[in-house]
């Protein structure tokens, strides 16, 4: 496991030791193995895990174009949350058709609602952390409010929370599953965040996530899940085969949209027939509409996956035969 710390202000060695309880000699950055001070917006690796894998993760996170955003995100979401969110967002990339087509708006609403409730919880925690610092009597109320946001998230999105947190193997639990942990993180100082990264793949996902998510101050974060264009551009920037990537992205979009539309069309027709031929009435229309939307979402997500898995091969075969 690599422990990576991020600060939003620059510390001298002694202040860092005082504030964080960690000696500076334990930290190393990508460019400096023995720093005399901790520089703001720079990822530092704690030395207890100094293997090649840790170095690889650190190198990925030290990309100068993302470090500032990465630090803000880690501070506003909390390190563990950032890891969880980056892993759902990478799954959501595959579902982004769901965010575009009407056929799949039920699913999109649900995922949007989940991300929204995580954000609510997070901003309630941030409020609590500010109140807690000022030692004001509102502290209890603020904590209550954060607890309510936490419960709401737990009750409405139990399944999603489980899926997300099953990938985080922190022994203390995560703020998403354990309110006390969230409250403790909020109460302690928020100038430093720690990321416990298990694998370089996680680091990759975080890097991607920082490209999609923008912090607009005050913990307000915009997450652009629908970034097919992002995939192509990332591949272009990384010197990859972006034409192939573009072929995959555009064809998977077209095919999954067509699939969704096809299912909605037939489903709506079947519904009309049912409504005309049987006395099921408006309730039937609403329930049936949800079924059709669900089926369309399933089919178009399925199509998206099939195309994404196979379009690369198709592209290669085409190019070879040309």
């Amino acid at each position: 496991m690599s422990e990576i710390i991020l600060c939003n202000r620059t510390y001298s060695a002694s202040v860092f030791k005082n504030e964080c309880g960690i000696g500076i000699e334990l930290a190393s950055s990508l460019t400096c193995a023995n720093p005399d001070m901790i520089i703001a917006n720079t990822p530092y690796l704690l030395k207890n895990g100094n293997s090649a894998v840790c170095k690889a993760s650190l190198a990925k996170l030290s990309n100068p174009s993302i470090t500032k955003n990465l630090t803000s995100l880690a501070l506003s979401f909390g390190g563990d949350n950032l890891i969880s969110l980056s892993s759902i967002s990478s799954q959501l990339q595959e579902y982004n058709v769901g965010l575009m087509g009407a056929s799949t708006s039920v699913y999109a609403n649900r995922m949007g609602g989940f991300v929204g409730s995580v954000k609510n919880y997070q901003s309630a925690l941030i409020e609590y952390s500010q109140v807690a610092k000022s030692k004001s009597p509102l502290k209890v109320a603020a904590k209550q409010k954060a607890k309510m946001a936490f419960d709401k998230m737990q009750n409405s999105f139990k399944h999603e929370v489980k899926v997300v947190t099953s990938q985080v193997k922190s022994s203390r639990g995560t703020p998403l599953t354990n309110f006390d942990r969230g409250a403790n993180i909020a109460k302690s100082s928020r100038n430093m965040a720690k990321l416990d990264i298990m694998t370089p793949v996680q680091a990759d996902k975080i890097v991607k996530f920082t490209k999609y998510a923008k912090v607009l101050g005050n913990g307000l974060t915009i997450i652009d899940f629908g970034s097919r264009v992002g995939n192509i551009q990332n591949s272009y920037k990384a010197g990859g085969n972006w034409e192939r990537e573009m072929f995959i992205e555009s064809s998977s979009f077209a095919a999954s949209a067509a699939t969704g539309i096809g299912v909605v069309n037939v489903g709506a027709g079947a519904l009309t027939f049912l409504m005309v031929a049987t006395p099921i009435g408006w309730i039937g229309l609403i329930v049936g509409g949800l079924v059709v939307a669900g089926a369309a979402a399933t089919a178009s997500i399925g199509m998206n996956n099939i195309i994404k898995d196979n379009a690369g091969n198709t592209y290669d075969a085409l190019i070879k035969s040309l």
């Binding site: 077209a254 067509a258 539309i261 096809g262 009309t272 089919a299």
Partner: protein, 125 residues
């Protein structure tokens, strides 16, 4: 080239063609109908922006007896009104709509079928 690679190729080609037809039919026919006060309000329910294009194409594609039945039912508002549309379009519009609708629907449904077959493991080696 194995089966799934080929089928995906066919699927991609078909959805590209339906995409092109979608835009063409929308620009050539439906834009005209949206501006025409006689047809403006009769293009059916839009599940998503641009869905009226599909509704209009559907009106030209289903058998006339079905569309008459739909117009008489209380759910006529879901669908574009075929009678009025036939009066306000040319033969070319109708043929284009017919071709577009069936290409799109066939593509979509074979996509759903492909998902189903893939799900039950037909293509796994």
């Amino acid at each position: 080239m194995n089966t799934i690679t080929m089928l995906v190729g066919v699927m991609i080609a078909a959805s590209m063609v339906s995409g092109v037809l979608y835009v063409a039919f929308g620009q050539i026919t439906v834009r005209k109908l949206r501006k025409n006060p006689k047809t403006k309000g009769l293009l059916g329910v839009e599940y998503a922006s641009g869905w009226d294009i599909i509704n209009v194409a559907q009106a030209f594609s289903l058998p006339r007896s079905w569309t008459r039945k739909i117009e008489k039912s209380k759910f006529s508002f879901f669908y574009a009104n075929a009678t009025v549309l036939y009066e306000n379009t040319t033969k070319f519009d109708q043929v284009l709509g017919f071709v577009f609708y069936w290409v799109l629907t066939t593509t979509g449904l074979s996509g759903a079928l492909l998902v189903l077959l893939n799900y039950i493991g037909i293509f796994s080696e």
